[in-house]
């Protein structure tokens, strides 16, 4: 074979020498092996094994489960983040996200605080079946509901509802224990006083620390209750915080709370960019959504075929993800609220209902992808997982 033409280019010999030199003093790439995975697992393990080390009763309907790591290592997290548990309950493999309620400076354990949801599959399991010593599999910490020092204000106005207190508990504990230069106004709404989780601890903290202002708001207060009652209104917030300047607003609670509180905040003059909302699962009564097709009932059933396989049964009022899991299919999920796109599937034929505002990528919409955790079947479907 004749000489390759580049061998005649000016400077060729110099390059050849350089190659020889670099190989002689080269890098030994054989040792790399799975070093990338190992490095990433320190921050974002796809799976961690957790052992229940303690169970603390917080209220009649709520317990805190304390977990230690099986292998001794817990990845760091930001106060406000959640982990998802991978469980098998009643023969069904499923996952559920729970915000960490312990502060990130507590590196020895993770706490989650679970409130009972009536007929709920996982909450009842965790509250009634989980025992000290049990081993549960979980995801690494995830989620975007945390204080971002680059553009959030150091004064945080937090609106919590029910079990939505958990991310704020982590933030407040961290602020107090680490002496952070941040101020918290916490408005915490509950139906009854005894449902208010961490009520005593929050009362104590706000008594001791000037930068923690705790305002419980009780919808049905006991007779003679002196605190704030009803819902968390704009008037109550304004009266407490004075003005909205230099404050970032955080909401975590059920959809109903967002529907009520976000317009209240806007009326107060809070720009949308200052309002951070935690995800909180799929809408509980999707059929009440104004855009829901009238002719479909929550109890209507549809057939879903996965990649040409045998059809499974799905209820209109229930997320497609749940139907797939009930049928024994493995669909990964994390947030179960439409945000993380882990449960992304492709609809080949048929229609699903998706509530407005689900963050599905534009081109995913173009090519028929949906997030199964917030998609509700309204026709027979054919899908690709």
């Amino acid at each position: 074979m004749s000489k390759a033409i580049f061998e005649a280019f000016d400077g060729y010999q110099g390059i050849v020498d350089e190659i020889d030199f670099s190989r002689k003093h080269g890098v030994d790439y054989t040792v790399y092996r799975d070093s990338v995975d190992q490095q990433i697992n320190l921050l974002h393990p796809s799976r961690i094994s957790l052992r229940v080390s303690d169970i603390i009763v917080e209220s009649p309907s709520t317990k805190t489960l304390r977990f230690v790591s099986q292998d001794g290592y817990l990845p760091p997290f930001l106060a406000g983040q959640y982990i998802a548990f991978f469980l098998e309950v009643g023969g069904v493999r499923t996952r559920r996200p729970y915000s960490l309620s312990s502060p990130p400076n507590q590196t020895g354990y993770y706490d989650i605080t679970v409130r009972r949801v009536e007929r709920g599959r996982v909450s009842n399991y965790l509250l009634d079946e989980a025992r000290r010593g049990d081993i549960l599999e979980g995801s690494g910490p995830s989620g975007h509901f945390y204080f971002n020092p680059v553009f959030h204000d150091r004064t945080q106005v937090c609106l919590a509802g029910g079990s939505g207190i958990t991310p704020f508990m982590s933030m407040i504990r961290e602020a107090v224990e680490c002496g952070l230069d941040r101020t918290f106004y916490l408005f915490y709404g509950n139906k009854t006083l005894d449902e208010a989780i961490f009520h005593d601890e929050l009362g104590r903290l706000s008594g001791r620390f000037q930068n923690i202002i705790y305002v419980p708001v009780i919808e049905n207060p006991p007779g003679g209750y002196a605190g704030a009652t009803g819902l968390i209104t704009g008037d109550l917030i304004m009266k407490t915080i004075g003005d909205v300047a230099d404050k970032t607003f955080y909401l975590c609670g059920p959809q109903g709370m967002y529907d009520f509180c976000v317009p209240e905040l806007q009326r107060m003059g809070v720009p949308l960019r200052k309002i951070r909302r935690e995800i909180y699962g799929p809408p509980a009564h999707i059929w009440e959504d104004p855009a829901w097709p009238r002719e479909i009932k929550a109890e209507d059933h549809f057939r879903v075929r996965v990649a040409g396989g045998k059809p499974i049964d799905a209820r209109a009022g229930e997320p497609l993800l749940t139907a797939l899991e009930n049928a024994g299919l493995r669909v990964p999920s994390l947030c179960r609220s439409g945000e993380c796109s882990m449960c992304r599937i492709k609809i080949l034929s048929g229609k699903v209902f998706q509530p407005a505002g689900v963050p599905v990528r534009k081109s995913d919409r173009q090519f028929g992808y949906v997030h199964a955790c917030v998609s509700f079947p309204i026709e027979d479907l054919e899908i690709l997982t």
Partner: protein, 500 residues
Amino acid sequence: MEAYDAVVIGAGNGGLTAAAGLAQKGLKVLLLERHNIPGGCATSFCRGRFEFEVALHQLSGMGTTERPGPLRMLLASLGVLEDLTFVEMKDLFSVSMTDGFRLTLRADKDQVISELEQRFPHEKAAIHQFFDLVYAYANNMLAAFFFKDPAPSREKYPVLYSHAFKPASEVLDEIFTDPLLKGLLSVYWGYLGLPPNRLSFAYLAMLLFVYIEFKPFHIKGGSQALSNAILNRFLSNGGTARFNGGAKRIIVENGAVQGVVTDDGDRIQTEHVVSNASQITTYAQLMDRENIPDQVFTEMGGRSLSPSAFTLFVGFDCEPGELGITGSTNFLIDSFEFDDRIFSRMRSVDITDETMVLSCYDVADPDFSPAGACQANIVTLKYGEPWMRIPPARYHSVKFQCAESMLRRVEAIFPGVRTHIEELEAATPLTHMRYLGHPEGAIYGFEQYTKDSMFFQPGRYAPIEGLYFASGWIGDCGFQPTLNAGMSAAKSILKKLDAA
């Protein structure tokens, strides 16, 4: 056991076009991707009401419908053009310096030259000389290699012979005296990862030529739209794609590929594997050492890992104009020093005065972000290694500190951006490592020294029968080269099967 004609590992650009190219010709192909979405770098993610573009700043090689470039032709051959809308960027780039210097170059040769002549009248002749040289080099290169001249010679292609292996800064120093002008004409080094004193003139010349002649483009829906469109074509041609599970092992017997084991433990029978994962991962993690000739590690050992990047994704609650952003592609620069200081800056974690590029897609495509909002992707190159030494517990705070420093740099040029931030996310070298699976989060594969160019490296071939590579690790990086690399790998397999 499941059997396929070919298994493609990784659904980045190279993996996608390889898979689509093979399925199009009727092969039974399995595509394995560790993540839940195709694209690798060519992807997007959502925060609040924003969908952030991850990697694509300027797509090269598209050309117009009337004068199609190589990439447009490639995408047409895959049948994905009709699913995509491309947005032409009228500007090559804008440069903003902290001292107040501003310059915008249109993506047109004559306009670039006349704008530079106006700004640098003392370098008028040199400017002409430089662009003549760039064009002569590119035309020599294309005639000799792209159109495969059977009898090339120094007489026919003098500039190719004299300049192919010259460092960019040497050429610039020969032609110009004004350091500012030299800096402006080499800002694209950031797209290649090596500062001008280490980069070859060949790379710089080709990049300038390609962007000027075929224009920079963006894609409606971002690079994710491209990835989704190619995957869609692959699926409709009968391809099988599995996400959330990659390849764990490539099975080799007697020097030939026999199959692949997936992360789920499934054993797949195949005689052809295209790896879109790095060569390091492919050889050192996915294969048994005894199946790999020593030569592989010797050759690879002479190459070094390219930088990774620190990227800020910012969603603003206003239009770009309100922030003072008028160009799509903005290089933010503090100073033009061509020495190894640039290099050592890239090796440190903190951000001070490094060059960065800020892309605001909404300038060329007002639909990119929601109405009344816009986004910026700001990136600077950083080696991954120092990031790997940060204790995990400190990771988040270091990340926030760097984001803060970067934002200050942006504020120095576009004051007032901070008051409009609605969403902000940062990606570090470790983020790139996580989402690409590449050692040290390298985004441009191995470094692109002249010694690492296609002339001297094995490219897509492996000394193992049935194994091919398609990625930025085999030579040139960027969208156009990696999309092309996948097609080439597919063609190699088709040719081999045809011959059998």
